[in-house]
Amino acid sequence: MKKLFFALCLLGYGTFLNAQDYFPENAGVKVNNNNYTAFTNAKIYVTPTQVIENGTLLIQHGKVVNASSTVSIPKNAVVIDLQGKSIYPSFIDVYSKFGVEQAKKKPGRGRSAQYEPSREGYYWNDHIMPENKAIEKFTYDDKEAKKLREAGFGVVNSHIHDGIARGTGVLIALNGEGTNANRILDDRSAQYFSLSRSIAKGQSYPSSLMGTLALLRQMYSDADWYAKGNATTTDLSLEALNDNKNLVQIFEAKDKSHDLRVDKIGDANGIQYTILGGGNEFERIEEIKATNAKFILPINFPDAYDVSNPYAVDYVSLQDMRYWNQAPSNPKVLADNGIQFSLTTYDLKSPSNFKQKLMKAIEYGLSSTKALEALTTVPAEILGKSNEIGSLKAGHLANFLITSGDVFDKSTTLYENWVQGTKSVINSMDVKDIRGDYKLMVQGKTYDVAISGEVSKPKIEVKQDTAKLNSKIKYDDNWVTMSFATKKDDKTYRMIGAVTESSDNLSGRLVLPDGTESKFTATKSKSFAEKESEKEKATAAKNIVPVKFPNVGYGFATKPKAENTLFKNATVWTSEDAGVLENTDVLVKNGKIVKIGKDLNAGGAKVIDATGKHLTAGIIDEHSHIAALSVNESGQNSSAEVKMEDVVDPEHMGIYRSLAGGVTSLQLLHGSANPIGGRSAILKLKWGEEADGLIYDNSPKFIKFALGENVKQSNWGSYSRFPQTRMGVEQLYMNYFQRAKEYDTKKKNGEPYRYDEEMEVLAEILNGERFISCHSYVQSEINMMMKVAEHFGFRVNTFTHILEGYKVADKMAEHGVGAGTFSDWWAYKFEVNDAIPYNAAIMQKQGVVTAINSDDREMIRRLNQEAAKTIKYGGMTELEAWKMVTINPAKLLHLDDRVGSIKVGKDADLVLWSGSPLSVYSKAEKTMIEGVTYFDLETDKKNRDAIKKERNDLVTMMLKEKSSGKKTQSPKQSIKRDFTCESL
């Protein structure tokens, strides 16, 4: 019966919609409902900033006719009096999965990688799917729509959340009636991208973030080439990408640093993406602001960690604790910085959590107006639909909420959510507010009853004298059901009564524990009022700890600045012909070394007494993988198109720890998965700067190559990828370089060519503009690589690892290649069986410029000690040994005119040591880059105390959170994967 009634209701309302008027009608006579509905006496938010205190909203045919204080109500209008209530435009979610069938994870297919695409007639990479259309996978989901409407949403924009290029979305009005003909507001609502591979596709490329970014660059360039009619084959993906060019472009970045990465890709292709953020944008707000992008923000703020077990606290980092504390302020910080954003439910377990999370953002300072904009006008603007949705201006869809008051107030009730003029009742407006204090009489005893909570979902507390009794309440359709159990004998009393307009008291049937029926009366003594203290607590300023640079332990409160500094009376290791100078001063001005000598005048510079201490140039690590978000693009055997510069992680603790070991510069190398790896990032360890701030200006261009077991995939069960032998490695190089040569010739001759980033990079090598740092172990392959280079008329710049370099040191010297090697590593795999710690000394003696490098996040912290081992193994002098970690790697990196030694005019990248830098007993006391002190032993000590204190403060806050009954998450130690060149 109820179902039938409901169906009838739907039909009744359905007649508001006239969209299908050209459809034949066979179920009755054809009618249109041309009546108006007028909502009067309401506070109407036409837009977040245009508010009518006592106005009328007039709608017809699912659209707003007028909303103002002076609406003349037509005669054929149904009038609904909303005295004391408010009307808001209903919410819009730009980033939903609603109704669109999502991709399913492809079951694993063993260890054998799939290198080829699975599709024909589409782009060569399966993860590029701009041809996908959400509309083709769309089925209206009534259940989910109801949940979204209950959370206040009227329109959602949905798409297939899978792959790197994801195709177009669909904009849906959550209209519970009618058909998709009404609901679909746009079937090509936007074009979507992400940094994540398709879960449904198995193609191995791209396996890394940097591969993904390279793929996106190539995709855009190919699309342009295709659009110009250069292709001889059909590519439905590129066609779709070009067709979708004029749509709104939305990119899922999900992290502050990814926001910047994708914005850069957009800039290079003349696209301003709207970016789905990660919630941590506040940590780098200046850079985020500079993107000029609009953002879609998740508000799935983390729960506090359960830190009640003191041992478990060790595992939670300050970074994670801080994030819990700071994250809810993200929307506020963006608002304060004038960045436009909308809010999304996409990563919430259920839309029903939305309000609670939103309230939290508001508690943390987001204004109601900004919150409302983020849910109405801004998403409408993002979607280019400001003339249709997002406000209650005339002509807009009649999508609105009726509430008991401020929509963002905790105690406000959402009564109705109208979509396209169709009513959905969330909470009945006719429900009488029964909240308040009562005196209940039962069998001659008086009980104190307090009813609180929401109007339609009240809570009850029953007390006998001061003892709290177990009690329950239910309030439906104007009937209230209550029960309580006595303390002593656990006997249950049950009551039911009808709520009437005429009396504020509750009365009705009472059932005694023994089943006897009787009557009860509860006399209202006081109406419900929100406790002031609770309200205050909610709006009180939150204790938000300050953001650091970077926002992890040992970050700076403010970014440090360069200081003019005079190091007085030091033992100066110049790494130049001058050798070691005793009792010498070094003057640093504007980030450069300006004077070296005795008794120098400080001239206003800060003076550091370096008596008894040793001053050296900063250590340079020619081979490192710290501070990277990924290290290998292993999806293909050649990956020259990828750039380590794309994946620099400026928050990696390895940076700080390396500074503490006197390291100032390093080459962040691609790994050794492929014969042709990726391009390097050459970094200065400027702790606190954003990723790009770490990369050298005018950085020399490098690329990683690799030989031997890793590129042959010898040490794991992979037998399908070429090359499997050293013979194949040579042929791969010959082939790639030949193709690059032909490509370059075409380009130089002005012939038409398809821009290929990989070939561009290889051509740079052929033209002597880019240098190779080649991972190598055994003498045969070392020799081979040099011969390949000679064949194509270039020179290998550096062999790294090069553990059998000593066997061909004479040939290396003749070729003119340098070496970066371990001091004493061996025996970890078959090809290092003949590795000897005398390697560095032999190569150096044969005239090969030799550096000691780390390829290891621990060893990088003590490269000074590793350099000292060349004295033990092979009899290097102290000066020669020291050069192996300073000027020699600088030479290998073509940076010796800027860093690597203490010389007037060079960058002030300096380390002050407690003793000889080659002694195991010495430690770095200060590490400076371009005049900025990035590590200082004294500051470090203060940081330790500060970290302890801040951790304790946050733990105290989290314990409070737990004891107040809030949800917590179990403690965990977040791990950034650490890389060596073998990591995949």
Binding site: K829, F830, R862, Y921, R944, K972
Partner: protein, 430 residues
């Protein structure tokens, strides 16, 4: 077929013509070392020392001013340094030759409770990795199996031997137990969060260990009709003739380990790892637990830790009055030759240099129970010692001129020095 060929090639190349250096002959002539700074391994030094040994035993340790007859061959070591042979505990040296070549690995047997599995019989006395220890002063090692919960039984060997029988100093000295982790890393490759989360099976795993110990103890009290090799192998743990080496790092692990093992009859417990041991020195002291602390050239476990926490762990424990040695059980075997520099690093953090020497000599010998013969330069002890041109704990100073094990003169050549000389010869026409 292809695999077989690979194997043959691997064997062919992995065991080339050059085998290990020939072990030294038994000492026949007395040897006197004069003038060196002697680091005795007990915290003391003798500036200009006189050391004599005969038949493999030290017969005199004193000042070179002593007017006493110098015996046998005299080595003038003025300006040099003498140390007792350094000792590397809890290593798989000789059990693994090349980490990435499975065929060369013998350190980890199948099974969670396999104390009956013995390292000694798989110890390769001719390992090229083992011989590379000696030029750095590392002359003795405890060879321990790894993996599982109870990995097996270790033995202590010296590094100049024809075979494992010759090498053995102390056979089946102890049993190694890996205490379960309180936090476990997510399998990132399977799509899990790569972070560490509380180990849900922790209590169950501890219970399994306790149950095994109880059963082994009960078994030992009976005269069993059927032999249970795993239970039988535990006998020494309960009568104190063998030590139980428990690998544990965090505070809860350590406390649970000591309490569980003590209450289940383990007599001699040694803690290996002990990252958080510095937080509970009193607990360890009152339970009489020595610590073979993790090596200093390691990274802090937690981001917020002091950058130099691993550097100073030994000092923190020594300052707290514990008996401490250094091990690098988690590092690759070849790294074990850097043992002296790990001790040097501890001295960088302010630990007295001679106390740093103790971390790899006298203390370790005491912890392993071989201090009656090894670990210090003392009258009557084994002449297992070496001469270095400089400070052996400092990279640049660690240049050895003489090595003796049980009085035998040990070659300082290795596979690596031979290659060095061969190629220097090539380039310099020698």
């Amino acid at each position: 077929m292809k695999r077989l060929i690979t194997l043959i090639i691997a064997l062919g190349l992995a065991l080339p013509a050059i085998a290990q250096q020939t072990p030294g002959d038994k000492q026949t002539e007395a040897i006197t070392i004069e003038g060196a700074t002697a680091h005795l391994g007990n915290g003391e030094t003798i500036e200009s020392s006189l050391i004599m040994f005969e038949d493999g035993k030290i017969t005199f340790v004193g000042d070179s001013k002593m007017r006493i007859a110098r015996k046998g061959k005299i080595i003038d070591a003025t300006g040099k340094h003498v140390y007792p042979g350094f000792i590397a505990p809890a290593k798989t040296l000789g059990l693994v030759e090349i980490d990435a070549v499975r065929a060369s690995k013998d350190e980890d047997e199948i099974g969670d409770f396999i104390p009956h599995v013995r390292s000694l019989i798989a110890y390769n006395a001719e390992s090229k990795v083992v011989e590379s220890m000696r030029p750095n002063g590392v002359l003795i090692g405890q060879i321990a199996p790894s993996g599982g919960l109870i990995s097996g039984t270790s033995s202590i060997v010296q590094f100049d031997a024809w075979n494992w029988e010759d090498a053995a100093i102390k056979v089946d000295d102890g049993i190694h137990l890996n205490w379960p982790s309180t936090f476990k890393q997510g399998r990132w490759w399977a799509g899990e969060d790569p972070g560490y989360h509380p180990n849900k099976d922790y209590a169950e795993q501890i219970d399994a260990i306790a149950s095994f110990l109880k059963n082994a103890q009960a078994y030992g009290k009976s005269t069993p009709k059927e032999v249970n090799p795993a239970f039988a192998a535990m006998k020494g743990i309960f009568d104190g003739s063998q030590k139980l080496y428990v690998h544990a790092d965090d505070e809860k692990q350590i406390i649970d380990a000591v309490n569980t093992l003590k209450s289940n009859g383990s007599k001699e417990i040694v803690l290996i790892g002990g990252y958080h041991a510095y937080k509970i020195p009193d607990f360890l002291k009152s339970n009489n637990i020595p610590v073979l602390v993790q090596f200093t050239h390691n990274l802090p476990v937690f981001d917020d830790d002091d950058y130099d926490l691993p550097y100073k762990l030994p000092k923190l424990l020594v300052d707290a009055g514990l008996l401490v040695g250094i091990q690098n059980s988690e590092a690759a075997n070849f790294q074990t030759r850097n043992l002296p520099f790990y001790a040097g690093q501890a001295a960088q953090m302010g630990l007295d240099k001679e106390k740093a020497v103790q971390l790899i000599t006298g203390n370790t010998a005491k912890i392993l129970g071989i201090d009656d013969q090894y670990g210090t330069l003392e009258n009557g002890k084994s002449a297992t010692l070496f001469i270095s041109e400089g400070d052996a704990l400092d990279m640049a100073g660690n240049r050895l001129t003489h090595v003796f094990i049980d009085g035998r003169t040990v070659s300082l050549e290795t596979h690596q020095t031979e290659l060095w000389k061969r190629y220097m010869g090539k380039y310099e026409g020698k």
